[in-house]
């Protein structure tokens, strides 16, 4: 019977190492992290400018606008999820590593969510405030965006893995991911609207949580399979 050498890294080590690496890479280039956030704020600014400053109108469209802006910002940052690693060859090293690929993919997805999803969740009440949403709506925004952006990162990672290395992958990613993201958008925006109107938001948040759990269970495996295929 052979024993594993002591130097054999455990499952958690690979996950943590990759997560740290991605966070560190982002920390060294803070501009890349800020881009989706600024994009999010700018898209949310476009709507009042285009539709006029009536408070009633803004209050009605606010939840939907914030959610659409979050969806687009997530899509924007998804393009780069595997791109840099694909270009410098480290993606192939990940594919060759002894660590299970779904776990590594999950680490990359976590890093992506921490860098592009979580900031949106944090500043979403501010955007909501500028749309004059009532307090319940302001609370519902981060409550729905938290599981919502996590699901977007997980599902979007599959799309990013399918399109990595394609010359026309940029526009294609939206075509692949946005239809899949529609349930998240429907429940997210609708729940915020209902909460702003004084209704309970538990149902929608539960649904988004359930969707997030389902995506957490299945998406890393689909993403890993897609990465293997696009790097064959």
């Amino acid at each position: 019977m052979t024993t594993l050498p002591d130097t054999m890294p455990g499952l958690g080590r690979g996950f943590v190492a990759l997560l740290r690496r991605d966070l560190l890479l982002a920390w060294r280039r803070p501009g890349d992290v800020l881009n989706p956030l600024v994009f999010f704020a700018i898209v949310a600014t476009l709507f009042p400018l285009a539709l006029g400053p009536e408070t009633d109108l803004l209050r009605t469209i606010g939840p939907g606008v914030v959610w659409v802006a979050a969806l687009l910002a997530a899509l924007l940052s998804l393009n780069g999820l595997f791109l840099a690693d694909h270009e410098d060859g480290s993606l192939e090293q990940l594919l060759l590593s002894a660590q299970p690929l779904p776990l590594l993919v999950l680490a990359k997805t976590c890093a992506h969510w921490l860098l592009s999803g979580l900031p949106l969740v944090v500043i979403s009440p501010l955007i909501g405030l500028s749309y004059d949403l009532p307090a319940d709506g302001l609370l519902a925004l981060p409550a729905t965006l938290l599981p919502g952006t996590a699901s977007l990162s997980l599902v979007g990672a599959t799309g990013a893995a399918l399109t990595v290395g394609l010359s026309r992958g940029n526009a294609l990613l939206g075509l692949l991911v946005l239809p899949l993201a529609m349930p998240i958008l429907i429940f997210g925006a609708r729940t915020v609207s209902l909460a702003a109107a004084g209704d309970t938001m538990a149902g929608g948040v539960y649904f988004l949580g359930a969707y997030c759990m389902l995506a957490l269970t299945l998406a890393p495996f689909a993403t890993a399979a897609a990465l293997r295929i696009s790097n064959e």
Binding site: P183, R190, I229
Partner: protein, 250 residues
């Protein structure tokens, strides 16, 4: 059974088999559609509420049903191709996608034409089934776009198969989430407790259309798979022999 399965996976064998099935499918499907069209337009009585406008269901319902059936065919074939690395299954999935997209488009177009006199609008966002059908169309388009964007044949097969499976998991979720909106659409008429809520004169043409459309879909699918197989196997010896034989006969 397994030998049958293995034989089916062989392109020349399938090519011959599909050629035998197509005339049968067409021979069953075409008369059914012809009867359904005639009976639907002339025999079925006008609806007491909707008048003659309801007759569009004879195209709308089969198209909507096939749009979902085609997605199932595509996803199952893609799964088989991905798991057992069966090239023929990928050819089936690739051939089913454009057909499914067209049926989806047909269902959307007839639905919106029907909606104009009934709801007073061409498009009703509040209707969940119309909206989920639109999302289904986007899923088809995404699948075809991904397949078109990848030059390498096997890679395109496998990548789009992953997408088809991810989409198949999402279709029920999309349907449910859109249903969560308020509904304007007619409730189910055919499949429900207590039997169909539709008069026989109206029902039989509809059933004929559904079965006729299904058989025609089968025939069209096999035709597309046949040409897809020919294209994919264009360098194989049996295809060359086929080509020289038909050239010699002509």
């Amino acid at each position: 059974m397994w030998t049958f399965f293995h034989k089916l996976a062989s392109p020349p064998h399938f090519y011959g088999l599909a050629g035998k099935f197509i005339p049968w499918f067409a021979a069953i499907g075409l008369p059914l559609v012809a009867y359904g069209t005639w009976a639907g337009l002339f025999i079925a009585p006008p609806d007491y509420q909707q008048g003659d406008a309801f007759r569009i269901i004879y195209v709308h319902v089969p198209a909507a049903y096939l749009s979902m059936l085609a997605y199932m065919v595509m996803a199952i074939a893609a799964g088989i191709g991905l798991i057992w690395r069966m090239k023929l299954a990928h050819a089936v999935a690739a051939s089913a996608a454009p057909l499914g997209a067209w049926f989806t488009f047909l269902a959307l177009a007839t639905g919106s034409i029907w909606g104009r006199p009934m709801w007073g609008t061409w498009w009703e966002w509040g209707d969940p089934r119309l909206t989920s059908e639109l999302i289904l169309l986007f899923l088809y388009l995404g699948y075809m776009a991904l397949r078109a964007a990848i030059d390498d044949g096997t890679k395109a097969d496998r990548a789009s198969a992953v997408l088809a499976l991810v989409g198949a998991v999402n279709v029920p979720i999309i349907h449910f989430s859109v249903e969560w909106w308020s509904s304007l659409h007619q409730g189910p008429t055919l499949i429900r407790e207590g039997g169909p809520a539709i008069a026989g004169d109206m029902l039989y043409p509809l059933l004929a259309m559904i079965f006729g459309f299904s058989f025609l879909f089968g025939a069209l699918l096999l035709m597309r798979v046949k040409s897809e197989v020919l294209y994919r196997e264009r360098r194989a010896r049996w295809v060359r022999r086929l080509a020289t034989e038909s050239a010699g006969a002509a």
